[in-house]
């Protein structure tokens, strides 16, 4: 991980673009009314997803939340099947049953996005307990938001992970808002990380829009966690370019704040860095590839058949 060969970086750049492109296409499909329901776009937060997963291996696990498309793709999820899920097709990650907030792919260690704010924290803790009991050396990375940090499950789960010294990284994407509520209204403190000490846990605040800062923090953490030192908390400061969900006009934040954050776009940051090592042509190619993969994903979703209702009721049980 530590020495960055250009090809690898290009692939991470492509993956960030893939996420951005995925979310932007989705927005259009919702706008056209070709997809209904709702979605929580993660544009602007691509570096947390890709940076964190870049520091994990295939045998590691991730739990996610409602804003999980980026996490899924970053962990190696197939954009085709995710797009199909959003179109409600049989080929979707969850066969169309889950939709945007409810996808899991155990084959890549993606233990599920989650429609319940804070719901993923105990699940990540339980997965880490299983790893410890099974004496494997995997780690679990739990993505959650600043808002989720005020759910009781945060407190209960982090405490259990700490007393049992479980291999889990609690990774908070602090994008400064929980839906419409600014961090300062939900917290009496400056950072979520202030709470790490309450669980005798290491905690650090990092720049969530810098792929390298995220990746390096997570790989260092993963090393400590794998070594059996117990959980840790990483708080990545970031910002969603979009609204909370489809129906959000963002009246609760200023256009100036948004503009300032757009100057700190994780993808632009990555590109600037890449230009030092890669040729512009390579970079453009990565950009074309990303767009192309999303075209494929859309085509795949559109061609896919709707789910079959036959046997739906029986599928509630493992028999």
């Amino acid at each position: 991980m530590s020495n960055d060969d250009g090809l690898e970086l290009l692939s991470f750049y492509r993956r960030m673009l893939l996420i951005r492109e995925f979310e932007q296409r989705l927005d259009r499909f919702f706008a056209d009314g070709r997809i209904h329901g709702t979605t929580h776009s993660c544009t602007g937060q691509e570096a947390t997803a890709v940076g964190a997963c870049a520091a994990l291996s295939a045998s590691d696990y991730v739990t996610s939340n409602h804003r999980g498309h980026g996490h899924f793709i970053a962990k190696g999820g197939d954009p085709k099947r995710l797009m199909a899920e959003l179109f409600g097709k049989a080929t979707g990650v969850s066969g169309g049953r889950g939709g945007s907030q409810h996808v899991a792919d155990l084959s890549i260690g993606f233990l599920g996005s989650n429609g319940i704010t804070g719901g993923g924290l105990p699940i990540a803790t339980g997965a880490a307990l299983a790893i410890k009991i099974q004496k494997r050396d995997s780690v679990v990375l739990c993505f959650f938001g600043d808002g989720a940090a005020n759910q009781g499950t945060f407190h209960e789960s982090v405490n259990m992970a700490a007393i049992w010294k479980l291999p889990v990284i609690f990774f908070c994407e602090n994008n400064l808002y929980a839906m419409s509520t600014p961090f300062a209204c939900n917290f009496p403190i400056q950072n979520v990380c202030v709470r790490a000490a309450g669980y005798a846990m290491a905690g650090e605040v990092i720049d969530g829009n810098d792929f390298f800062a995220v990746r390096d923090a997570v790989s260092a953490a993963a090393g400590r966690v794998r070594a059996g030192n117990g959980p840790c908390l990483i708080e990545a400061l970031t910002y969603r370019h979009c609204g909370h969900s489809k129906s959000d006009g963002c009246e609760y934040r200023t256009r100036d704040e948004e503009a300032a954050w757009r100057l700190n776009d994780p993808i632009a940051n990555m590109k600037r860095r890449l230009l030092q090592t890669a040729a512009p042509a390579e970079i453009e190619q990565a950009e074309r590839e990303a767009a192309g993969m999303i075209d494929e994903a859309v085509a795949f979703a559109l061609q896919s058949p709707p789910p079959d209702t036959a046997g739906l009721e029986d599928s509630i049980w493992v028999s």
Partner: protein, 326 residues
């Protein structure tokens, strides 16, 4: 009389009660500026300020507990749980605290508290954002439950709920927010515990509440086209249940369909149906049928969601099956 949206009717009731009684205040996630996920409380913070339209962190169980504590000291909290699915987090404060305090503490306390929350699917939101969980509450003594189907009842029942000295679960419905209906001018209330007969009929009784009422009306229209006259009853209050109104109708028609959007097994229909079977056994010309969601989570994909959730066609089919039984 003015024609307004169901969402507006709720907002008007909240506003008028906030004006009427300074002990009333609202508590919930993103209810202030944002107006809540469905914008029901939009505009109220500008008029009443952030102390009375109070945003909370994401902490459902303790939000309800905070309401209980505030109510014990004489305030009248109206809490919004953003989606009914999230009330699962607050069941302890609701069942072991709010529901029990008055009885358990020897009738010392009053807990005037309302929990507003939208249930129901048909929006493609998926399994954790589409549930109808009101049936969980009917087995817990101490919490009243209302589930209005029209703007008129939404406003009138919410006012009754806010003025009630007991905890009340006020079940809204996402697909009804955009529905328009006539609402009287000025102050009025709809009593908790009274069903309403929306359409009189002699051949069969269609019983439901909330969104399914409108599916029953559609089914009744279709039946009328075949010369079958269905009586359509909106239960409105699930606790207490107005069995008198239901029994009166069933004694007349002898045939019953009960419809709800929640899961078939263990639903509200089982309780209403059992009581009708029990007390009107000898009046029934055919077994009661219930129309409800299939016993699986509510899927996100439109074709699956439509398959799982009941609509007027299921009500109509059940009615036909019953009418077929001589």
């Amino acid at each position: 009389m003015a024609e307004i949206f169901y969402s507006q009717a709720i907002r008007d009731a909240l506003r008028e009660e906030l004006l009427r009684d300074e002990r009333v205040f609202l508590l919930g996630e993103d209810i202030a500026g944002y107006g809540g996920a469905f914008r029901i409380t939009r505009g109220l913070v500008e008029e009443f300020g952030p102390e009375r339209i109070r945003n909370t962190p994401i902490s459902e169980n303790s939000i309800v507990g905070v309401g209980v504590g505030a109510a014990m000291l004489g305030l009248r909290p109206v809490i919004e749980i953003m989606f009914m699915d999230f009330i699962t987090l607050a069941i302890d404060q609701l069942f072991n605290h709010a529901a029990k305090f008055r009885f358990m503490f020897g009738e010392q306390v009053r807990l005037p508290m309302v929990i507003r929350t939208p249930g129901g699917g048909r929006r493609g939101y998926g399994p954790t954002h589409s549930q109808s969980l009101e049936t969980l509450f009917i087995s817990m003594p101490g919490i009243k439950i209302v589930a209005p189907a029209t703007p008129h009842d939404a406003k009138g029942l919410l006012k009754s709920a806010i003025r009630d000295d007991n905890p009340v679960l006020f079940v809204e419905n996402k697909t009804l927010y955009g529905m328009r209906g006539e609402v009287p001018d000025g102050d009025y209330t709809v009593p908790i515990g009274k069903a309403s007969v929306l359409r009189e009929g002699r051949d069969i009784t269609l019983i439901s509440y909330s969104q399914m009422v409108h599916e029953c009306i559609k089914a009744a229209d279709a039946l009328a086209a075949d010369g079958v006259f269905a009586e359509v009853i909106d239960v409105r209050s699930l606790n207490p249940l107005d069995m008198d109104t239901l029994c009166e109708s069933v004694q007349k028609t002898g045939r019953v369909v009960i419809a709800e959007e929640g899961h078939r097994t263990g639903g509200v229909s089982a309780e209403i149906g059992f009581r009708l079977f029990e007390s009107l056994h000898y009046y029934l010309d055919a077994p009661i049928k219930r129309v409800a969601a299939k016993d699986v989570p509510v899927p996100a994909a439109p074709v699956l969601e439509k398959y799982v959730l009941p609509d007027w066609t299921n009500v109509l089919q059940a009615a036909h099956e019953i009418l077929a039984e001589n």
